[in-house]
């Protein structure tokens, strides 16, 4: 492969936000194009280098090709858009109807979402899957939060003495927390490797649930607080989740990446501001803006993960070109 062409293909590779299999297919097709075009131009009397330069010029700018490829591959059907919105709507319904505290409804929703996520993950990761993953990642987050008192007891025992906690239970909770955090980290990295925007979409519900759990802490936990106070945030959360449902459906239907980034930033900012208002509203406007900004940074953090991995991707891709 000629160095100019290799450089051009590496640039396209870095700009393509597609799943690895499709990415390989696109690059292999472009590579074939360059081989044929360069051969033809050489037949017309051009040197290999001149032919490569002209072929690159005829091919067009890498950014445009990458953008059009993304648009070609990122359009789903109405039913796929409905599936993308469904987990948000299920959880929004649980909050709007105050049913989330009822064990049967809670367990049915949680297990249903987890099963769909696992099945879809192993069956080609369709475009509607990412919001489902977000909720599946929220499950260990909530379980870890519920069991935090056991770890608190252990820390208090280790630092100040007092009654000894059940060490087997502490070890179990610790193991669960470590495993859960590893699953969240590994999944975020895997999704960000494909496209940081999908990882951001996946992470959006987490700050909402994080804020909700923090607000429950002020009410002394899930089961002890007064019923009316426990449901105080339900309407806001269900509204935020309906907004996320619309955004997720838009992600499947809209082809233009810039619109997706804009939509996610606006909805993510609003959701983050809602959570921040309930938690840190008393800190004043500056505190509210700072907290919203931090939560938005968390939602958009996959872009940093992606930029870290793109270098490794480019090196691996360069090796395949030269082999």
């Amino acid at each position: 492969m000629l160095p100019e062409v290799g450089c051009y293909l590496r640039e396209v590779h870095g700009l393509l936000h597609l799943e690895p299999r499709t990415k390989r297919l696109v690059l292999a097709e472009l590579r074939t194009y360059f081989q044929e075009k360069v051969q033809e131009l050489q037949g017309e009397g051009l040197s290999e280098q001149e032919a490569a330069r002209l072929a690159i010029l005829c091919c067009g700018r890498p950014r445009i090709i990458a953008r059009r490829m993304y648009e070609a591959h990122s359009h789903g059907t109405a039913s796929e858009a409905g599936l993308a919105a469904l987990p948000h709507l299920i959880v929004a319904f649980l909050f709007a109807s105050h049913l989330w505290l009822q064990p049967l409804w809670g367990i049915a929703a949680v297990s249903g979402i987890a099963v769909v996520t696992i099945l879809a993950w192993w069956n080609g990761r369709p475009s509607w899957l990412y919001p489902w993953i977000g909720y599946s990642l929220a499950i260990p987050l909530i379980c870890g939060w519920v069991s935090r008192s056991i770890l608190g007891q252990f820390v208090s025992f280790a630092l100040m003495g007092g009654p000894a906690p059940n060490l087997a239970l502490v070890a179990l909770v610790l193991l669960f927390c470590v495993l859960s955090l590893s699953v969240i980290a590994v999944t975020t990295v895997r999704v960000a490797e494909r496209d940081w925007l999908l990882a951001s979409l996946m992470l959006v519900p987490l700050p909402i649930f994080g804020g909700w759990l923090c607000s429950l802490k002020g009410m002394h936990g899930f089961f002890q607080g007064p019923a009316l106070a426990i449901h105080a945030l339900d309407s806001e959360i269900s509204l935020a989740l309906v907004a996320l449902a619309v955004t997720s459906a838009g992600f499947v239907l809209v082809r233009q990446r810039v619109l997706k980034i804009g939509g996610l930033t606006v909805v993510g900012t609003l959701a983050a501001a809602t959570v921040a208002h309930h938690l840190w509203g008393q800190q004043g406007l500056f505190g509210l803006i700072a907290a919203s900004f931090l939560l938005l940074l968390f939602i958009l953090s996959p872009v940093l993960i992606r930029s870290f991995f793109s270098d490794e991707d480019a090196v691996a891709f360069a090796e395949t070109l030269t082999s």
Binding site: L25, V26, A28, E29, L30, T32, Y33, Q35, E36, K37, C58, C59, G60, R61, I64, I65, R68, M69, E71, A72, H73, H75
Partner: protein
């Protein structure tokens, strides 16, 4: 850079042209289609060659064409496309729409022919 008038007009019809050429040839590949469009239009229709591949992928995702890798005697891999039944139906609708549009334009530009 501003796109030329022919590029602008081609943008709306590029997918129809691709379907037509693939259907006519039985099966075809990206670079062959690029050359064919240029040859038949006597060089009038030219566009950035890399942009034909996104158009082919879009048609494939819509189920209008089907792409398959084939190996040439030289060992080189090439992705060839052929039209599907859905693609044939879409092509016939596009040709009908184009003929109607062309007739309407002719009635305006060349009223004596009507």
């Amino acid at each position: 850079m501003r796109e030329s008038r022919s590029e602008h007009m081609l943008r709306g019809s590029a997918e129809g042209l691709l379907l037509f050429l693939i259907e006519e040839k039985g099966q075809s590949y990206g670079y062959e289609i690029i050359r064919e469009i240029e040859r038949r239009s006597r060089g009038y229709l030219t566009f950035k060659e890399g942009t034909i591949y996104p158009a082919l992928h879009k048609l494939e995702n819509q189920g209008l064409i089907l792409g398959e890798w084939s190996e040439l005697p030289s060992g080189q891999q090439r992705r060839c496309y052929r039209i599907t039944e859905k693609g044939r139906k879409e092509l016939s609708e596009r040709i009908q729409a184009w003929e109607g549009f062309q007739n309407a334009l002719n009635l305006i530009y060349k009223p004596s022919n009507a």
